[in-house]
């Protein structure tokens, strides 16, 4: 990635987080990955203390989001990110176990950029994450605007 893009990984399952990180690294992506295991901490980080999201002005972010979180729903985080003036351009990759058609549709309607179902089969899982890593290495991410 040309820009120093920070990957925000919101994933409550630490095992999943570890597997995702490992496989992203294996695809040769060395960007900073900041992991969060719950929605509240992630929202605090994204929107800052004042809740405006101004903190990340000028930074390039990419959000990797799980929908099933213990405290808040991933959908809710997605909606708030896409509603925020500063964060709405940030690409959001939904990576979750749900393959329910309603859920997928809803996420895209809310502005999610990519929706990936976690396959249980590890070959497929590792493969999907590596592909995603390759995808990360080529896409252009806008900077959070003022």
């Amino acid at each position: 990635m040309s820009n120093p893009v920070t990957i925000i990984m919101i994933e409550d399952d630490e095992g999943h987080a570890r597997l995702i990180e490992r496989n992203i690294r294996r695809s040769g992506v060395n960007n900073e990955i900041i992991p969060f295991t719950n929605g509240t901490a992630a929202l605090d980080y994204l929107f800052g203390a004042d809740g405006s999201g101004l903190d990340h002005k000028g930074r390039a972010l990419l959000i990797l989001l799980d929908l099933n979180l213990p405290d808040t729903s991933g959908i809710d985080i997605l909606r708030r990110v896409k509603d925020n003036d500063h964060l709405k351009c940030t690409p959001v990759v939904v990576l979750t176990t749900t393959d329910d058609a309603h859920e997928i549709k809803r996420c895209y309607e809310l502005g999610c950029n990519v929706y990936i179902t976690k396959p249980v089969n590890y070959e497929s899982f590792a493969n999907a994450i590596r592909q995603l890593g390759l995808f990360f290495s080529v896409i252009q991410v806008p900077q959070a605007n003022a």
């Binding site: 597997l19 249980v120 089969n121 590890y122 070959e123």
Partner: protein, 509 residues
């Protein structure tokens, strides 16, 4: 009220009506009888009067004849002869009539016989006097009259007539009394009978009205009960639906959440597998370093480092353990997917549409032609009733059942699968019969349970098909059952409402 009481009441009512009817009949018969009796008695009274009348008439004619005779003797005028002849001619017919009238009474009959005899002799005297008088033998005629025989006879006749009249008078009194009694009896019977009938009719009307009121009450109660029942059923149905939805949600969430840890288990198992190669390479290197007399570092066919016997055993055990873990995970994943699919199916809204069942099944059969050909099976479709139901659900039901029939045929026996249908009382009954290996009766319930299967486990499957089919049939308002014996084929029977309407009043929570 209890059933027994109601029955008792009905019996009493019937008994009352029967009694009333019997009384009515009895009263009618009695009235008719007594009226007839009264009429008869009156006839007898009239008869008595007539007899008396006849006696008087006969006596009158006798007197007339006597006076005509006397008149003729005194005056010799021929008018008296005519008078006499007229009177004498009427006497005998009157007496004969009288005899016939009183022939039922022995004493009167005897009296009349005597009277007739006396009258004849008296008439004979008259004739003799009249003949003598007409021959102008006045003295002889006077002598006969003076002889007094005529008067004596007349007195006898008069006495006898008086006796007869007396007798008739006695009879008259008796008969009048009898007629009076009959008449008053008839009127009493009629009056009492009418009264009784009126009373019974009143009682009956009262009873009928009471039972009508009881029936109305019962009807009202029944209506209330029905309404209550409907409300209760609605409530229960709502509860059940809620419970069912709860279970669905639960199953969905559970199966969903089970997936996350499974991803980890699978992932790290795979990671371990990766590590295995590295670990055993290191073991090989280390053991070689520890024993310098060992062979130089060489690789086997698969590019794995060569290990000594004990280490190779370890490596194999490691691989085996990992293989078991992975196959179990794969199985668990399939089960979870199956539950997810089932719950997803349970959440799908059904759309009732008219379905040509035969066409639908023909389509299913054509997609299974390959399997059927492999199993050397023939699928026959008999005429089927058309129904209104959910198309996709019906497709799943029939394709599952036909697929099962094809799957569990007897090896070496050409399959014969029949799909039959008929209609009864608003329900369509479908039967899928095969000549396959059959199902042990003790497993008939089990096969409908999720993840449960019966018989030899030589075919792939999760034990989901029939559970799914039964869930669908139930959601379509139907029932299903199986009839089967080991080695004798199976028949699955599905009963579905001919016209299914999606009766889901409110949307899911």
């Amino acid at each position: 009220m209890t059933v027994e009481r109601a029955r008792e009441r009905a019996l009493v009512q019937i008994a009352l009506l029967t009694v009333a009817f019997a009384v009515l009949v009895a009263v009618s018969i009695a009235s008719v009888y007594w009226l007839a009796k009264a009429r008869e008695d009156s006839a007898w009274v009239a008869h008595t009067l007539e007899v008396e009348n006849q006696i008087s008439l006969a006596q009158l004619q006798m007197r007339r004849a006597e006076s005509a005779e006397r008149g003729f003797l005194l005056t010799r005028q021929p008018e008296f002869t005519t008078d006499y002849e007229e009177a004498a001619a009427q006497i005998m017919p009157l007496l004969t009539l009288l005899r016939s009238l009183v022939q039922d009474n022995a004493s009167q009959s005897a009296a009349i016989a005597e009277i007739i005899a006396l009258t004849e002799s008296r008439l004979d005297q008259f004739r003799r006097v009249m003949t003598l008088a007409s021959q102008s033998k006045q003295d002889e005629a006077n002598a006969i009259i003076r002889g007094g025989a005529g008067r004596e006879t007349m007195n006898k006749i008069r006495d006898l007539a008086a006796e007869m009249r007396q007798e008739e008078h006695r009879l008259f009194l008796l008969r009048t009394a009898a007629a009076d009694r009959s008449q008053s009896l008839a009127s009493i019977v009629t009056t009492t009978g009418s009264g009784l009938v009126l009373v019974l009719a009143g009682v009956s009307i009262f009873l009928v009205r009471r039972s009508a009121r009881a029936r109305d009450d019962a009807e009202a109660q029944l209506r209330d009960n029905n309404v209550n029942l409907e409300t209760t059923v609605d409530e229960r149905t709502a509860d059940l639906r809620e419970a069912n939805e709860e279970i669905q949600r639960f199953a969905y969430i559970v199966s969903h959440d089970l997936r996350s840890p499974l991803v980890n288990i699978m992932g790290f198992t795979s990671e371990l597998e990766e590590l295995r190669t590295d670990i055993f390479r290191r073991i090989a290197t280390l053991s070689r370093a520890a024993s310098p007399q060992a062979l130089d570092a060489s690789l086997d066919d698969q590019g794995q480092p060569l290990l000594d016997e004990a280490d190779r055993q370890l490596s194999q055990d490691f691989t085996e353990a990992l293989a078991f873990i992975k196959s179990s995970i794969a199985k668990m994943d399939r089960l979870i997917s199956a539950i997810l699919n089932l719950t997803r199916e349970g959440r799908r809204e059904f759309q009732p549409v008219p379905i040509d069942t035969r066409e639908l099944i023909e389509n299913i059969v054509s997609t299974m032609a390959h399997q059927a050909a492999e199993a050397a099976a023939e699928i026959r479709i008999e005429p089927l009733p058309e129904i209104v139901s959910d198309r996709l659900a019906l497709e799943q039901i029939f394709s599952n059942l036909i697929d099962n029939a094809l799957k569990y045929l007897k090896p070496g026996v050409p399959g014969d699968i029949t799909v039959r249908g008929r209609q009864r009382l608003g329900f369509a009954i479908f039967e899928i019969a095969d000549n396959g290996r059959g199902i042990d009766p003790k497993d008939h319930q089990r096969i409908f349970d999720l993840f449960r299967r019966a018989g030899t486990q030589d075919k792939p499957g999760q034990g989901i098909g029939l559970a799914h089919v039964r869930a669908l049939v139930r959601r379509l308002g139907g029932t299903m059952s199986v009839a089967s014996e080991l080695g004798k084929g199976s028949t699955f029977t599905i009963t579905l409402p001919t016209k299914w309407t999606a009766t889901k009043p409110e949307t899911r929570a």
